[in-house]
């Protein structure tokens, strides 16, 4: 009997278990999914929690109910991967031998990595919304907020769902207007990059969105520490951004056991081939979803599309054949823009987000890089699709590889850069 061990029962891990259980012979392969709890969170839903949009119950379900029969669900925290012995050791002392290992433990916000972030102001005037507890605490804080400087801040790239800080900014601006206190709030968006929108076509089409909403953008700001006594963000070049309410996206990192096992880069992400997601070092270890170092967005859609490519590759790999599929970094994301509208972006390693229609040329029905109500409804509908179609591994009628159909290619767009 051979063992496939999947670390992490999130989006990627659950989809892989579902898809592979149907494709691997049960008399030959045992599949185990390891996770430390039984709560599967619909993370895109966190965005709406601060505004009272989703309840706890709407974004959390039991992990094991999404795993098919014939997959062992193992409760436990991973202590270390012993790559010499091909064994995963858990904190409990239990050892899980593997023939093939998939690391799908995602990416986690780490407020502990920025001095001062976890100080006395954490969850008093400093909040994150990339955890459910953070989003819920922020909901309470926003309800009490009646004016001052509200700062939305990104610590460092990469972060999961890179568009979420912008979405939060648009949503909070609309929400403040709705409450009639927009005039009493100074909104600031602080980013380590050189702009809120950095890709040329998106910048050209959306660049004014923050100006129109009177959001001040502080660029090239790399936070060194937070002075919680004075309530200011301090950058490495000694700039200061004061806040009354700080909504920050802490540094994101992969799991600590990845580092302990000697498998990670400087942020505990597993270096892999960006097309097959096979470890650059070990022939029987893959890293899928946010856990890898591929230069794609850390987003659920990337997990989804890459799993589609991974499954066939994995079957070829264990049969001793070369992997013929090549993941292209495809991502698509709805971007909430407030007032019940949203944008849609669709892109990959080589092609930046462009305007046009998705998924069908001319027909759409979704518009790319354009605020529409249809896109907003698409975003809301996605929660149902996630729980009922995507996680169970049922086919989603969207191509895994990005298509240029329906996209407008500007003649002045920079050509793809050679790696």
């Amino acid at each position: 009997m051979k063992h496939l061990v999947i670390l992490g029962g999130g989006t990627a891990g659950t989809m892989i278990a579902n898809k592979l259980r149907h494709r691997l012979d049960r008399t030959e392969w045992r599949i185990a999914v390891v996770d430390r709890d039984d709560e599967h969170h619909y993370q895109p839903g966190y965005l709406f929690v601060p505004f009272g949009g989703y309840t706890h119950e709407q974004v959390v379900r039991s992990r094991h109910t999404f795993l098919p029969d014939g997959v062992d669900f193992v409760f436990g925290s991973v202590d270390e991967i012993d790559t010499g012995e091909n064994v995963v050791r858990l904190d409990s002392g239990r050892a899980l031998p593997y023939d093939q290992l998939v690391i799908a433990t995602g990416s986690t916000p780490r407020p502990d990595q920025t001095p001062g972030m976890l100080g006395p102001e954490w969850r008093r005037s400093i909040f994150d919304f990339y955890t459910l507890e953070g989003a819920e605490a922020l909901a309470d804080a926003l309800a009490r907020f009646d004016g001052g400087r509200l700062v939305v801040h990104v610590t460092e790239m990469p972060i999961k769902c890179p568009v979420a800080p912008l979405e939060f900014t648009f949503l909070v601006e609309a929400w403040l207007r709705e409450r009639g206190i927009r005039d009493q709030v100074e909104l600031v968006f602080v980013t380590p990059l050189d702009g809120a929108f950095t890709k040329p076509v998106a910048s050209a089409h959306l660049g004014g969105m923050l100006d129109e909403r009177k959001v001040h953008v502080e660029t090239d700001f790399l936070v060194e520490r937070i002075d919680s006594e004075r309530k200011v963000l301090v950058s490495y070049d000694d700039r200061e951004v004061p806040f009354d309410l700080l909504v920050t996206v802490p540094l994101n990192m992969g799991a600590d056991f990845v580092a302990r096992s000697g498998l990670g880069d400087e942020l505990n992400y597993v270096p892999v081939d960006k097309h097959t997601q096979l470890s650059t070092e070990f022939d029987n270890i893959f890293a899928i979803g946010d856990a890898s170092d591929i230069p794609a967005s850390k987003a659920g859609s990337v997990a989804h599309f890459s799993v589609e490519i991974f499954v066939d590759n994995f079957l070829q790999h264990i049969a001793g054949r070369p992997m013929t599929g090549a993941f292209d970094g495809h991502a698509n994301c709805f971007v909430e823009s407030g007032d019940d509208k949203a944008l849609l972006i669709d892109f990959n390693y080589d092609t930046e987000p462009l305007t046009g229609k998705y998924p069908l040329p001319v027909v759409g029905p979704m518009d790319l890089l354009k605020e529409t109500r249809a896109n907003h409804l698409g975003k809301l509908a996605f929660r149902w699709i996630y729980w009922n179609v995507l996680l169970p591994g049922r086919p989603v009628p969207l191509p895994a590889l990005m298509s240029m159909a329906g996209k407008h290619v500007p003649t002045t767009a920079p050509e793809k850069q050679e790696a």
Partner: protein, 104 residues
């Protein structure tokens, strides 16, 4: 794709002037690019640039400041001294690599 001529070399650049062809870069060109943004290259500057150059082919992406600090061994604060104000962008420019990426 636009091209420009620097120091008698024709090079491919993007709309913001970042070089797009890894192999068109040389250290001499790096010195000229640095001078354009007011930086006189020292050994410490070169240490950072050489790290970026050697790291890029492996990852297909310009190293972040954190990566230069933790893997390349140059503290972030020092990178801000060497390449004032916008070290990530300036290092990418001098090293002939893509500027640090966003997604939108």
């Amino acid at each position: 794709m636009p091209t420009t001529t620097i120091d008698n070399h024709e090079i491919h650049v993007d709309d913001e002037g970042f070089m797009t062809q890894y192999d068109e870069w040389t250290e001499d060109l790096g010195t000229v690019l640095a001078a354009q943004i007011g930086i006189e290259m020292s050994d410490e500057h070169w240490k950072a640039i050489r790290f970026l150059r050697s790291d890029f082919p492996e990852h297909g992406e310009t190293a972040t400041l954190r990566r230069v600090a933790t893997v390349g061994g140059i503290p972030t604060k020092q990178l801000f001294t060497l390449f004032p104000k916008k070290p990530a962008k300036k290092m990418a420019y001098v090293a002939g690599l893509p500027k640090p990426r966003g997604c939108v």
